[in-house]
């Protein structure tokens, strides 16, 4: 199959790739670039495990073709902590026990980041609604919500 030139900036690094048009952004991040932090839980856009941030918005990367991400700036879970400092969301998930198996965690953290960057002071109900596109099978969500709420506070106070 013909490959297309695709240029992606991922976590600040630029990648110039040749990609088959049928490959998703998720497959490209994971298999071509080797950033496996974004997870594949369904490949149909229904679980949020593959969530990355593109131009400030949370995107399910399993639904986006790599060619349509051409020229975009992408942040994945691997790009969230800076200079060895954890992002408040990462800190929140650790402190509140917001993960168990952890498979959903990168997606939850990225979805939460995009949301809190937009809405820094949500109510619990708003947050529960906003994270409705992400599935966690382990935690029952109680501690995820606590983690994100405490991170939101930390981010507001930062």
């Amino acid at each position: 199959m013909n490959k297309h030139p695709v240029s992606l900036t991922v976590n600040g690094d630029q990648y110039d790739l040749l990609i088959e048009p049928r490959k998703t952004l998720l497959a490209t991040l994971r298999d071509t670039i080797g950033l496996t932090g974004s997870k594949e839980g369904c490949s149909t856009g229904d679980c949020g495990a593959c969530t990355v941030i593109i131009d400030g918005k949370a995107i399910t990367s399993c639904l986006m073709l790599a060619v349509s991400a051409n020229g975009k700036e992408i942040t994945t879970i691997e790009g969230l902590s800076s200079n060895g400092h954890l992002h408040p969301l990462q800190q929140g998930f650790i402190e509140k026990g917001g993960y168990q198996c952890g498979f959903c965690t990168p997606g939850f953290i990225m979805a939460s980041k995009a949301y809190l960057d937009e809405i820094p002071n949500p109510t619990e109900a708003e947050l529960r609604h906003a994270l409705g596109g992400n599935i966690c099978r382990c935690t029952g969500y109680t501690k995820i919500i606590e983690a994100v709420m405490s991170a939101a506070e930390a981010m507001r106070n930062a």
Partner: protein, 765 residues
């Protein structure tokens, strides 16, 4: 709790950083040089003869490297279907190609010639003589025929008298019970205690109902995946996301006839399992076969859709249940007849039917359970396998009785609960348990005693019990010159168990938790560890860790005695250093100094080991109360409050324990209200998250967890297994709350809005 410094504390987990930075390596994150991608060719029919398999077109596709079928399985063990398929999704062949998309295309190009057969999906249909047989024409007798048969045998064995009249009469009756000749039976179990007929006769009230629980999928978020690499010497390495690497090793070895020494299973981080991640059939065996054939590493990864059609979910169940009680609230008898939907192979959970006895003093009990073949994939464990299904029936029926005799649901349960020394129906004597404490704790925390409800609101209570399993395990500990401690083991971290092990070792060795690290070996390098299922890990590996740490302690004290020139019993290990007890001036030596010293002694480095097999475990109770509000227009049920208490023995890490309670409760909620794998004559019709809805954060409020601690005599620091109990009551908790709100009982789960609307109509609302 303050007597301990590390256990009993909510320390952050040992794997915290890896989990929040994306660094944790799950199955599909493993990439091997030159790796090929496998894809399974699956049956498109639920029941059919295979008249031909043509792989020629697929082989021609550029990039395809190998196709395997049953002919490639030298042991003859069944891996792929050959002449008959029994469900949609059943593996027929597997393809390996240089790219996942090519593998998928090639799998589509494998041509299967089917001759379709009639299909049976419903258990009550499947047992009838008129329905298609999946395996053979064998039949089993139903409960009444069994009773007559036993009586007939007794009569004909008794030669002292002439019983011919009775024998004739009973034989005629036996033969007339045609609907008790069951077909397609995969397994059966029967248990009896006391005399149920007598119990029902003495009861003031007898309630009988049929409860239907759907088949649900564990839906661990990481789909099954395996990477296999067979080298030229025949050595096979398997990277597996599994609950039991040693089970995978023996499973692959047995299926493919490979010596144990020639297989190494390297466990990856696991993205959830809940009982569903022990088998080798789904990805591991096909990956090994493809790797053996190509001489290259092969990854076989299931899609979510494949998970639904060929995973091993929890069986659905139809339970006919009858309970008798007195007007003052004593349960006298209970009888259950259960049909478990095994799918195409003999399956899980049927043995749990006995748990319909709950934790009550039921003097007369009779349980008959059958596994039934249907045209679906096989089943396996899902969190407290079988118990949520039967607890739903049992606790729903108790709720009915409590309503009918006008007794409070909590009081009624408390009145019948067993205590230490009571007879367990068809079991032993009850050990020391915390049943009543746990139920009272949830009632208090939920505000049950002065509960109020508005219109369309309802409260529900239910309980469920489970006893953690136990299994063999080994742990090594090594103390290093900087005073740090490293643990080596081979058990899979199941949501925090590594952390519990590290906490236990830190506690015994009196070192800070941060100084303890943990290394998981593969099956070549780690001592044996039982699989991480059945809530075994904290109990088993916790005990193992404690033994290993105590062994290390012995070595430390002996070494310190040598170094400090005193006897070991004049020494104390505290705060990470060994001090002389009776000596002026006081002297001490730190663990680090001792470890450094050990390197120059004849004894050598400080190493300890622990090995543990089994000790009796203690039952644990989970109790829940929910408050709901039903929208009479839409039939939607909204949870206003969900409180879940559990006797955990001792919470080694309270935050992790709460997480288990919350997660299990929500899984139970989902089973009650949303989840259901649906089948028709074309197979599973909802194989994805759009049609098989699992709850999101938007569906539920916060779950309030209440930890109760009645120590288990044999648990490490009194701990019990905590993973499974919390899912056991929730199906009934929700069902009972809905009844309280709408006045009608829905006996077929899940309680979807349309069923609520129907029930309201039925009730004239």
């Amino acid at each position: 709790m303050s007597e301990y410094s590390v256990v009993g504390k909510s320390v952050p987990r040992v794997d915290a950083l890896d989990k929040v930075t994306g660094a944790a390596q799950y199955g599909a994150d493993v990439h091997r040089p030159g790796m090929l991608y496998g894809k399974i060719v699956r049956s498109k029919h639920p029941h059919a003869y295979i008249r031909g398999i043509d792989t020629s077109e697929a082989e021609k596709l550029p990039g395809v490297r190998a196709i395997v079928t049953q002919a490639d399985v030298k042991t003859g063990r069944s891996v792929f279907a050959t002449d008959k398929v029994l469900y949609v999704g059943e593996p027929i062949a597997a393809v390996a190609a240089t790219d996942p998309d090519i593998a998928e295309e090639a799998a589509e190009l494998v041509k299967i010639d089917y001759e379709e057969l009639p299909v049976v999906q419903d258990v009550l249909e499947a047992i009838k003589p008129s329905t298609p047989r999946l395996h053979n024409d064998d039949t089993k007798d139903g409960p009444a025929r069994r009773v007559i048969k036993a009586r007939l045998k007794k009569l004909s064995d008794d030669e002292s008298q002439d019983h011919s009249a009775e024998i004739e009469e009973l034989t005629a009756k036996f033969e007339s019970l045609e609907d008790e000749v069951y077909y397609n039976i995969s397994a059966e179990t029967h248990t009896e205690a006391g005399d149920v007929e007598k119990g029902f006769a003495e009861s003031d009230i007898v309630v009988e109902d049929t409860y239907v629980v759907p088949r649900v999928h564990q839906t661990y978020m990481e789909p099954h995946v395996s990477i296999a690499e067979a080298d030229s010497s025949g050595k096979v390495t398997v990277w597996a996301s599994t609950q039991g690497p040693f089970a995978i090793r023996s499973g692959v070895a047995g299926t493919l006839g490979i010596p144990l020494t020639q297989i190494n299973v390297i466990p990856t981080t696991m993205g959830g399992g809940f009982g569903g991640r022990f088998g080798v059939a789904l990805t591991h065996v096909p990956a090994v076969l493809l790797s053996q054939k190509t001489g290259r590493p092969v990854r076989v990864q299931m899609t979510r859709e494949e998970e639904f059609v060929d995973g091993r979910p929890a069986p659905g169940c139809v339970i006919k249940l009858k309970t008798g009680a007195t007007n003052d609230g004593r349960i006298l008898a209970r009888q259950a007849l259960a049909f478990w939907d095994s799918g195409s192979v003999s399956g899980a959970s049927i043995g749990s039917t006995i748990r319909v006895r709950g934790v009550y003093k039921i003097p007369n009990l009779k349980v008959d359970a059958y596994g039934v073949y249907t045209n679906k994939s096989g089943t396996t464990a899902y969190r407290a396998p079988g118990t949520p299904q039967v607890a739903y029936a049992g606790e729903s029926q108790l709720d009915e009785i409590a309503r009918k005799i006008g007794m409070d649901g909590v009081e009624f349960r408390l009145k019948n609960m067993r205590e230490e020394g009571d007879q367990i129906p068809a079991g032993a004597k009850e050990p020391k348990v915390g049943y009543k404490e746990t139920l009272k704790a949830v009632a208090d925390a939920a505000g049950w005693w002065n509960r109020e409800k508005g219109p369309n609101q309802g409260w529900g209570v239910a309980i469920g019990d489970w006893t953690n399993g136990c299994g063999p395990g080994g742990i090594y500990i090594s103390v290093h010159e900087d005073g740090s401690v490293r643990i080596f083991h081979g058990s899979i971290d199941i949501t925090g168990t590594d952390t519990a092990i590290a906490q236990i070792v830190a506690e015994v060795l009196t070192v800070p938790y941060e100084q303890v690290t943990i290394t998981r070996g593969d099956t070549d390098s780690a001592p044996y560890a039982t699989g991480s299922g059945g809530s075994v890990v904290t109990f088993t590996m916790g005990n193992t860790a404690k033994l290993a740490a105590e062994d290390t302690c012995q070595r430390i004290l002996a070494l310190a005695a040598e170094r400090l020139n005193t006897s070991a019993d004049n020494l104390e290990l505290k705060d990470g250093k060994v001090s002389v007890l009776v000596q002026d001036p006081p002297r001490s030596i730190s663990l680090g100094e001792l470890a450094a010293y050990s390197l120059s002694t004849t004894g050598g480095p400080i190493v300890g080991k622990g090995s543990f097999a089994r000790k009796p475990s203690t039952p644990a109770l989970a109790a829940q109360i929910a408050k709901v509000e039903v929208d009479p227009e839409t039939g939607n049920v909204r949870v206003l409050k969900m409180v879940s208490s559990q006797d955990v023995g001792f919470a080694i890490n309270p935050m992790a324990v709460e997480g288990q309670i919350e997660g299990g409760t929500v899984q139970g909620y989902a089973w009650a209200m949303m989840e259901e794998m649906q089948y028709d004559e074309k197979g599973n019709v909802n194989p994805g998250f759009v049609d098989y809805r699992v709850p999101t954060s938007a569906d539920l409020p916060t779950v309030q967890s209440v930890i109760v601690e009645v120590p288990a005599p044999n648990g490490p620091f009194g701990a019990k297994g905590v993973g499974e109990p919390p899912i056991t009551p929730t199906l009934a908790t929700m069902a009972n709350a809905v009844v309280d709100a709408i006045g009608v009982r829905i006996t077929e789960l899940p309680i979807k809005p349309e069923k609520v609307i129907d029930a309201l109509k039925q009730n004239g609302k």
